[in-house]
Protein backbone atom coordinates (compact mmCIF):
# COMPACT_ATOMS: atom_id res chain seq x y z
CA UNK A 1 0.00 0.00 0.00
CA UNK A 2 1.91 3.01 -1.27
CA UNK A 3 1.36 6.56 -0.24
CA UNK A 4 -1.61 7.71 -2.27
CA UNK A 5 -1.18 10.06 -5.15
CA UNK A 6 -3.69 12.88 -5.07
CA UNK A 7 -6.88 11.91 -6.88
CA UNK A 8 -5.70 8.43 -7.81
CA UNK A 9 -8.30 7.13 -10.24
CA UNK A 10 -7.66 3.42 -9.60
CA UNK A 11 -9.47 1.59 -6.82
CA UNK A 12 -7.19 0.44 -3.99
CA UNK A 13 -7.83 -3.30 -3.93
CA UNK A 14 -6.27 -3.96 -0.52
CA UNK A 15 -8.17 -1.17 1.17
CA UNK A 16 -11.32 -2.10 -0.73
CA UNK A 17 -11.10 -5.74 0.40
CA UNK A 18 -10.49 -4.77 4.02
CA UNK A 19 -13.39 -2.33 4.01
CA UNK A 20 -15.66 -4.84 2.32
CA UNK A 21 -14.92 -7.40 5.04
CA UNK A 22 -15.53 -4.79 7.70
CA UNK A 23 -18.86 -3.68 6.23
CA UNK A 24 -20.18 -6.98 4.93
CA UNK A 25 -23.03 -8.19 7.10
CA UNK A 26 -22.48 -11.86 6.16
CA UNK A 27 -24.02 -14.34 3.74
CA UNK A 28 -26.70 -15.80 5.98
CA UNK A 29 -28.04 -12.34 6.79
CA UNK A 30 -28.06 -11.60 3.07
CA UNK A 31 -30.74 -14.16 2.24
CA UNK A 32 -32.87 -13.08 5.18
CA UNK A 33 -32.56 -9.46 4.14
CA UNK A 34 -33.70 -10.21 0.58
CA UNK A 35 -36.63 -12.26 1.85
CA UNK A 36 -37.67 -9.43 4.18
CA UNK A 37 -37.48 -6.80 1.43
CA UNK A 38 -39.51 -8.93 -0.96
CA UNK A 39 -42.15 -9.63 1.69
CA UNK A 40 -42.45 -5.91 2.41
CA UNK A 41 -42.53 -5.20 -1.32
CA UNK A 42 -45.71 -7.25 -1.57
CA UNK A 43 -47.33 -5.08 1.10
CA UNK A 44 -46.16 -1.96 -0.72
CA UNK A 45 -47.70 -3.26 -3.92
CA UNK A 46 -51.00 -3.96 -2.18
CA UNK A 47 -50.94 -0.53 -0.58
CA UNK A 48 -50.16 1.12 -3.88
CA UNK A 49 -53.01 -0.77 -5.56
CA UNK A 50 -55.29 0.38 -2.77
CA UNK A 51 -54.12 3.93 -3.41
CA UNK A 52 -54.81 3.55 -7.12
CA UNK A 53 -58.27 2.13 -6.46
CA UNK A 54 -58.95 4.86 -3.92
CA UNK A 55 -57.96 7.48 -6.49
CA UNK A 56 -60.25 5.89 -9.05
CA UNK A 57 -63.02 5.61 -6.47
CA UNK A 58 -62.73 9.32 -5.70
CA UNK A 59 -62.83 10.12 -9.40
CA UNK A 60 -65.79 7.78 -9.83
CA UNK A 61 -67.73 9.42 -7.01
CA UNK A 62 -66.99 12.87 -8.44
CA UNK A 63 -68.10 11.77 -11.94
CA UNK A 64 -71.28 10.18 -10.57
CA UNK A 65 -72.03 13.38 -8.70
CA UNK A 66 -71.62 15.45 -11.86
CA UNK A 67 -73.83 13.05 -13.84
CA UNK A 68 -76.49 13.11 -11.10
CA UNK A 69 -76.44 16.90 -11.01
CA UNK A 70 -76.69 17.11 -14.78
CA UNK A 71 -79.54 14.61 -14.86
CA UNK A 72 -81.31 16.46 -12.06
CA UNK A 73 -80.93 19.69 -13.96
CA UNK A 74 -82.33 18.22 -17.17
CA UNK A 75 -85.23 16.53 -15.40
CA UNK A 76 -85.95 19.72 -13.46
CA UNK A 77 -86.02 21.77 -16.59
CA UNK A 78 -88.33 19.34 -18.32
CA UNK A 79 -90.72 19.30 -15.40
CA UNK A 80 -90.74 23.07 -15.14
CA UNK A 81 -91.51 23.60 -18.84
CA UNK A 82 -95.22 24.58 -19.51
CA UNK A 83 -97.05 21.57 -20.89
CA UNK A 84 -99.97 21.87 -23.28
CA UNK A 85 -103.16 20.93 -21.41
CA UNK A 86 -105.24 18.50 -23.39
CA UNK A 87 -108.86 19.81 -23.61
CA UNK A 88 -111.58 17.58 -22.28
CA UNK A 89 -114.54 16.50 -24.48
CA UNK A 90 -117.07 18.93 -22.87
CA UNK A 91 -114.61 21.75 -23.30
CA UNK A 92 -114.33 20.97 -26.97
CA UNK A 93 -118.11 20.79 -27.36
CA UNK A 94 -118.79 24.03 -25.51
CA UNK A 95 -115.94 25.96 -26.98
CA UNK A 96 -116.78 28.25 -29.92
CA UNK A 97 -115.70 26.84 -33.24
CA UNK A 98 -112.29 27.78 -34.54
CA UNK A 99 -113.79 28.48 -37.98
CA UNK A 100 -117.32 29.78 -37.39
CA UNK A 101 -118.62 29.31 -40.98
CA UNK A 102 -117.90 25.57 -41.17
CA UNK A 103 -120.78 24.43 -38.93
CA UNK A 104 -123.36 26.47 -40.83
CA UNK A 105 -122.17 25.09 -44.14
CA UNK A 106 -122.41 21.54 -42.90
CA UNK A 107 -125.84 22.10 -41.36
CA UNK A 108 -127.17 23.83 -44.47
CA UNK A 109 -126.06 20.96 -46.69
CA UNK A 110 -127.68 18.39 -44.37
CA UNK A 111 -130.93 20.36 -44.16
CA UNK A 112 -130.93 21.01 -47.93
CA UNK A 113 -130.63 17.27 -48.60
CA UNK A 114 -133.61 16.59 -46.48
Amino acid sequence: MKDPLPFDHRPDLALGDALRRALDPGEEGHAAFIARVLARAEQVRVLSWDAVLARWARAGVAAALVVALAAGYVVGRTAAAPTAVRPSVPDVLIAPPAHPGEVEVVLASVIGNN
Binding site: P4, F7, L15, P25, R45
Partner: protein
Protein backbone atom coordinates in the same frame (compact mmCIF):
# COMPACT_ATOMS: atom_id res chain seq x y z
CA UNK B 1 -8.88 -18.35 -37.23
CA UNK B 2 -8.23 -14.95 -35.76
CA UNK B 3 -8.47 -14.57 -32.00
CA UNK B 4 -11.52 -12.74 -30.84
CA UNK B 5 -10.70 -9.52 -29.05
CA UNK B 6 -11.54 -9.46 -25.34
CA UNK B 7 -14.94 -8.02 -24.60
CA UNK B 8 -14.39 -4.42 -23.57
CA UNK B 9 -15.46 -3.50 -20.06
CA UNK B 10 -17.66 -0.69 -21.36
CA UNK B 11 -19.52 -3.12 -23.58
CA UNK B 12 -20.11 -5.44 -20.65
CA UNK B 13 -21.36 -2.48 -18.62
CA UNK B 14 -23.71 -1.48 -21.45
CA UNK B 15 -25.16 -4.98 -21.65
CA UNK B 16 -25.66 -4.96 -17.88
CA UNK B 17 -27.38 -1.59 -18.16
CA UNK B 18 -29.73 -2.85 -20.88
CA UNK B 19 -30.42 -5.92 -18.81
CA UNK B 20 -31.24 -3.80 -15.79
CA UNK B 21 -33.44 -1.45 -17.78
CA UNK B 22 -35.39 -4.48 -18.93
CA UNK B 23 -35.61 -5.81 -15.37
CA UNK B 24 -36.91 -2.44 -14.20
CA UNK B 25 -39.51 -2.36 -16.99
CA UNK B 26 -40.68 -5.83 -15.98
CA UNK B 27 -40.75 -4.87 -12.30
CA UNK B 28 -42.82 -1.77 -13.14
CA UNK B 29 -45.22 -4.02 -15.02
CA UNK B 30 -45.69 -5.90 -11.76
CA UNK B 31 -43.37 -8.86 -12.27
CA UNK B 32 -42.23 -9.92 -8.81
CA UNK B 33 -39.29 -11.98 -10.01
CA UNK B 34 -37.79 -9.02 -11.84
CA UNK B 35 -37.84 -6.85 -8.73
CA UNK B 36 -36.45 -9.82 -6.80
CA UNK B 37 -33.47 -10.02 -9.15
CA UNK B 38 -32.77 -6.31 -8.73
CA UNK B 39 -32.94 -6.65 -4.94
CA UNK B 40 -30.65 -9.65 -5.03
CA UNK B 41 -28.17 -7.85 -7.25
CA UNK B 42 -28.01 -4.69 -5.16
CA UNK B 43 -28.69 -5.92 -1.63
CA UNK B 44 -24.99 -6.29 -0.81
CA UNK B 45 -23.87 -2.88 -1.97
CA UNK B 46 -26.94 -1.18 -0.49
CA UNK B 47 -26.31 -2.74 2.91
CA UNK B 48 -22.61 -1.88 2.86
CA UNK B 49 -23.20 1.72 1.85
CA UNK B 50 -25.88 2.10 4.52
CA UNK B 51 -23.57 0.56 7.08
CA UNK B 52 -20.78 2.94 6.11
CA UNK B 53 -23.14 5.79 6.93
CA UNK B 54 -24.83 4.36 10.01
CA UNK B 55 -22.21 2.10 11.55
CA UNK B 56 -24.79 -0.14 13.15
CA UNK B 57 -25.69 -3.23 11.09
CA UNK B 58 -29.37 -3.36 12.11
CA UNK B 59 -29.96 0.31 11.37
CA UNK B 60 -28.13 -0.11 8.08
CA UNK B 61 -30.36 -3.01 7.07
CA UNK B 62 -33.48 -1.04 7.96
CA UNK B 63 -32.25 1.92 5.91
CA UNK B 64 -31.30 -0.31 2.97
CA UNK B 65 -34.71 -1.96 3.12
CA UNK B 66 -36.53 1.38 3.26
CA UNK B 67 -34.49 2.53 0.29
CA UNK B 68 -35.30 -0.56 -1.75
CA UNK B 69 -39.01 -0.18 -1.06
CA UNK B 70 -38.85 3.51 -1.82
CA UNK B 71 -37.10 2.64 -5.10
CA UNK B 72 -39.90 0.19 -5.89
CA UNK B 73 -42.49 2.92 -5.43
CA UNK B 74 -40.46 5.36 -7.56
CA UNK B 75 -39.44 2.80 -10.16
CA UNK B 76 -41.52 4.48 -12.87
CA UNK B 77 -39.44 7.62 -12.44
CA UNK B 78 -36.19 5.80 -13.27
CA UNK B 79 -34.68 6.89 -16.58
CA UNK B 80 -33.71 3.68 -18.36
CA UNK B 81 -31.01 5.48 -20.37
CA UNK B 82 -28.98 5.91 -17.19
CA UNK B 83 -27.33 3.20 -15.11
CA UNK B 84 -29.58 1.77 -12.44
CA UNK B 85 -26.95 1.34 -9.70
CA UNK B 86 -26.19 5.02 -9.07
CA UNK B 87 -29.93 5.83 -9.16
CA UNK B 88 -30.67 3.22 -6.51
CA UNK B 89 -27.63 4.04 -4.39
CA UNK B 90 -28.60 7.68 -4.28
CA UNK B 91 -31.87 6.58 -2.67
CA UNK B 92 -29.91 4.32 -0.31
CA UNK B 93 -27.51 7.11 0.65
CA UNK B 94 -30.42 9.48 1.30
CA UNK B 95 -32.29 6.89 3.36
CA UNK B 96 -29.21 6.18 5.47
CA UNK B 97 -28.47 9.87 5.96
CA UNK B 98 -32.08 10.56 6.96
CA UNK B 99 -32.02 7.72 9.44
CA UNK B 100 -28.76 8.96 10.87
CA UNK B 101 -30.23 12.43 11.35
CA UNK B 102 -33.35 11.03 12.97
CA UNK B 103 -31.42 8.97 15.46
CA UNK B 104 -29.13 11.87 16.35
CA UNK B 105 -30.23 11.48 19.96
CA UNK B 106 -28.31 8.25 20.10
CA UNK B 107 -24.70 9.27 20.40
CA UNK B 108 -21.91 7.54 18.53
CA UNK B 109 -19.81 5.52 20.92
CA UNK B 110 -16.42 7.11 21.60
CA UNK B 111 -13.56 5.48 19.73
CA UNK B 112 -11.47 3.02 21.62
CA UNK B 113 -7.87 4.25 21.36
CA UNK B 114 -6.61 0.69 21.60
CA UNK B 115 -8.69 -0.27 18.60
CA UNK B 116 -7.89 2.67 16.37
CA UNK B 117 -4.19 2.98 17.20
CA UNK B 118 -3.07 -0.57 16.69
CA UNK B 119 -3.43 -3.98 18.25
CA UNK B 120 -2.44 -7.56 17.71
CA UNK B 121 -2.16 -8.95 14.21
CA UNK B 122 -5.43 -10.64 13.30
CA UNK B 123 -4.19 -14.19 12.93
CA UNK B 124 -7.33 -15.56 14.41
CA UNK B 125 -10.98 -14.98 13.60
CA UNK B 126 -11.33 -12.92 16.74
CA UNK B 127 -8.46 -10.73 15.66
CA UNK B 128 -9.90 -10.42 12.18
CA UNK B 129 -13.08 -9.22 13.81
CA UNK B 130 -11.05 -6.73 15.80
CA UNK B 131 -9.53 -5.36 12.61
CA UNK B 132 -12.98 -5.05 11.05
CA UNK B 133 -14.13 -3.20 14.12
CA UNK B 134 -11.13 -0.89 13.92
CA UNK B 135 -11.90 -0.14 10.30
CA UNK B 136 -15.54 0.54 11.05
CA UNK B 137 -14.60 2.87 13.86
CA UNK B 138 -12.05 4.60 11.67
CA UNK B 139 -14.74 5.00 9.01
CA UNK B 140 -17.08 6.42 11.64
CA UNK B 141 -14.49 9.10 12.37
CA UNK B 142 -14.65 10.35 8.79
CA UNK B 143 -17.25 12.83 7.62
CA UNK B 144 -20.28 11.05 6.20
CA UNK B 145 -19.74 12.06 2.58
CA UNK B 146 -16.09 11.01 2.71
CA UNK B 147 -17.10 7.64 4.08
CA UNK B 148 -19.59 7.02 1.32
CA UNK B 149 -17.17 8.22 -1.35
CA UNK B 150 -14.37 5.83 -0.34
CA UNK B 151 -16.71 2.87 0.06
CA UNK B 152 -18.35 3.48 -3.32
CA UNK B 153 -14.97 3.92 -5.01
CA UNK B 154 -12.70 1.34 -3.38
CA UNK B 155 -15.22 -1.27 -2.27
CA UNK B 156 -17.94 -1.04 -4.90
CA UNK B 157 -15.83 0.08 -7.85
CA UNK B 158 -17.97 3.02 -8.97
CA UNK B 159 -16.28 5.75 -10.97
CA UNK B 160 -15.82 9.28 -9.66
CA UNK B 161 -18.51 10.44 -12.09
CA UNK B 162 -21.02 7.87 -10.86
CA UNK B 163 -20.28 8.70 -7.23
CA UNK B 164 -20.80 12.36 -8.05
CA UNK B 165 -24.28 11.42 -9.31
CA UNK B 166 -25.01 9.30 -6.25
CA UNK B 167 -23.90 11.89 -3.73
CA UNK B 168 -25.04 14.92 -5.73
CA UNK B 169 -21.65 16.64 -5.54
CA UNK B 170 -19.08 17.69 -8.16
CA UNK B 171 -16.67 15.05 -9.44
CA UNK B 172 -13.67 17.01 -8.18
CA UNK B 173 -15.10 16.93 -4.67
CA UNK B 174 -15.50 13.16 -4.94
CA UNK B 175 -11.81 12.81 -5.85
CA UNK B 176 -10.84 14.95 -2.92
CA UNK B 177 -13.07 13.02 -0.50
CA UNK B 178 -11.69 9.68 -1.66
CA UNK B 179 -8.15 10.95 -1.32
CA UNK B 180 -8.62 12.17 2.26
CA UNK B 181 -10.50 9.07 3.34
CA UNK B 182 -7.82 6.80 1.90
CA UNK B 183 -5.06 8.71 3.63
CA UNK B 184 -6.69 8.10 7.01
CA UNK B 185 -7.64 4.48 6.42
CA UNK B 186 -4.34 3.47 4.84
CA UNK B 187 -2.48 4.60 7.94
CA UNK B 188 -4.63 2.27 9.98
CA UNK B 189 -4.07 -0.68 7.66
CA UNK B 190 -0.32 0.00 7.43
CA UNK B 191 -0.05 -0.01 11.25
CA UNK B 192 -1.78 -3.36 11.32
CA UNK B 193 0.58 -4.82 8.68
CA UNK B 194 3.69 -3.49 10.40
CA UNK B 195 2.59 -4.98 13.68
CA UNK B 196 2.43 -8.34 11.94
Amino acid sequence: MADLPPQPVRQVARIAQQDEAELVARAVAGERAAFGLLVERYAGVARRVARAVLGNAEDADDAAQDAMLSALVKLEQYDARRPFGPWLLRIVANAATDRRRRRSVRRVEPLDVGLTAGGPRPDTIAERRALNERLRLALAELPERRRMAVVLFDVEGYSHGEIALILGIPEGTVRSEVFHARRRLRVLLADWKEEG
